[in-house]
């Protein structure tokens, strides 16, 4: 437990220091949401109708683009190799890193969502549903993303490969997430599906990611 907390604390501290880019992703998220009205026009009714989708696309892009941070810094300075021999299993370390990543990536998105709600003329019930959907769905996004990050960690110019791999696999999250907000019927079902997907993904992804990290380190 102490080792888990140590990894968690380390990642959080590293990200919030000067060299880390903790808030850049939030800025990206808000900016994507702000850029969309330039593309589709300032018609408030239209924006309100498209708002759930826009918020989810912004969250998607931000999460996918932030994936590299999970393992890249540790891989570059060699700490990832050391973590293979830590006191707790690699799967637990990945779980701690996932939690840190969620706290650094998804939680700021959720906190920044009122800004997007105002920009995209969402009303209160819609925004509340959006927050709920993001809370239920971002763990699944982060979990899939962790697998993508682990798979591409040993590539020098991995670049956009992890997002390209993970985006098709994460489409169910997008479908259920948007349905939770906007669907006239079935939003309750969407919540259940999304939560199930998140729980399953979070449970299984550390094992897949650990396997990928071990293979990459050979």
């Amino acid at each position: 437990m102490r080792a888990f907390a140590a990894i968690l604390g380390r990642d959080l501290r590293l990200a919030t220091r000067i060299g880390g880019d903790a808030l850049t992703l939030v800025l990206f998220f808000v900016m994507v949401g702000a850029v969309v009205p330039f593309a589709i026009g300032p018609d408030r009714a239209l924006l309100a109708q498209l708002a759930p989708g826009i918020v989810w696309i912004a969250a998607f892009l931000s999460t996918l683009l932030g994936l590299d941070r999970l393992f890249r810094a540790d891989e570059d300075d060699g700490s990832l190799l050391l973590l293979h021999h830590a006191a707790i299993p690699l799967e637990a370390i990945i779980a701690a890193k996932m939690l840190a990543h969620w706290l650094l990536t998804a939680l700021p998105l959720i906190v920044a969502s009122p800004l997007l709600a105002v920009l995209l003329s969402m009303d209160m019930p819609t925004w509340l549903a959006t927050v709920g959907a993001l809370v239920a769905g971002t763990p699944a996004l982060i979990a899939f993303g962790t697998i993508g990050a682990a798979v591409t960690v040993s590539l020098k110019r991995g670049g956009l490969l992890a997002p390209v791999l993970i985006l098709p696999l994460s489409i169910p999250v997008l479908i259920f997430g948007v349905a939770m907000i906007g669907a006239p019927t079935g939003s309750h079902a969407a919540l259940l599906f999304l939560s199930a997907l998140s729980l399953l993904a979070v449970a299984f992804c550390p094992f897949a990611a650990a396997l990928a990290l071990r293979v990459s380190a050979e």
Binding site: V164, L165, I171, A189
Partner: protein, 255 residues
């Protein structure tokens, strides 16, 4: 002192697993397979274009596209199933040729999926009036195409193909588990967003005259895949040998 005569005879598993064995037994069967494939195509296309009834209830004169579309769609899923099994072979059983099979199958699968989407589009235009419709099946096939292309990109991103093999196997397995979830979520999404007109083509009733050419075309395309896959595997093994020879030459040339 063991000599060649008392060495264990290759059993069926090593014939499959040993690259040298594989090259030996696969070489003589590629040409006959290709001939058989061509034959099936000729017979199937003849029956499809000249013998099948052209006027059917919901499909009309566009029926021949069906004979191209269905085999491609079937193969796009079959090939992924094959890649899924190969991924198991690489990770769980450490089969030496499983990764070669997976690597050779990926571009073929992507090609068949793209062809399925293309022929489906061509079929959709006269049938539904539009080249693309976001219905459950087309959307799921599009996502499958993206997964294939991502896997191909992953193969090409690694220098060490043996490391790539295990990484790609992990991604293939995760993708394989996710594909039913994707299919389910897309179908569920589609029922929420049911378009105004009835756009799902139920497909023609399978009268015998329609069914036989279809089976023949499916068989023909499957054999086409088999031929291309085997020769793709051979090419990949040869490619790896070339790489290895290049590395050995480089090591000899180094001072």
């Amino acid at each position: 002192m063991t000599d060649l005569a008392s060495a264990p005879k290759p059993n069926w598993f090593s014939r499959l697993a040993h690259p040298g064995s594989f090259m030996a037994w696969s070489r003589p069967i590629i040409a006959p397979l290709a001939v058989l494939t061509a034959l099936l195509f000729v017979v199937g296309l003849y029956l499809a274009f000249f013998r099948a009834p052209l006027e059917t209830e919901n499909v009309g004169t566009t029926l021949p596209i069906l004979y191209m579309h269905v085999p491609n769609a079937w193969l796009s899923q079959f090939v992924y199933g094959l890649m899924f099994l190969a991924a198991f072979g690489t990770l769980v059983w450490r089969h030496p040729l499983a990764d070669v099979a997976a690597k050779a199958a990926a571009p073929l699968g992507a090609g068949f999926t793209a062809l399925a989407l293309y022929t489906g589009s061509l079929w959709g235009r006269p049938t539904w009036g539009t080249f693309w419709e976001w219905d459950g099946r087309m959307t799921s096939t599009l996502i499958l195409l993206f997964i294939y292309l991502g896997i191909i990109a992953l193969w090409r991103a690694f220098e060490d193909q043996l490391k790539a093999a295990r990484i790609v196997a992990i991604v293939t397995l995760v993708g394989g588990i996710d594909i039913p979830i994707i299919k389910f979520s897309v179908d569920w999404w589609n029922t929420l967003h049911q378009p105004a007109s009835i756009v799902t083509a139920t497909g023609p009733r399978m009268a015998g005259a329609i069914f036989l050419p279809l089976i023949l075309m499916v068989l023909a395309f499957t054999l086409l895949f088999l031929t291309l896959h085997l020769s793709g595997m051979r090419t990949e093994i040869l490619r790896r040998r070339v790489d290895s020879l290049g590395r050995q030459a480089a090591m000899r040339a180094a001072p």
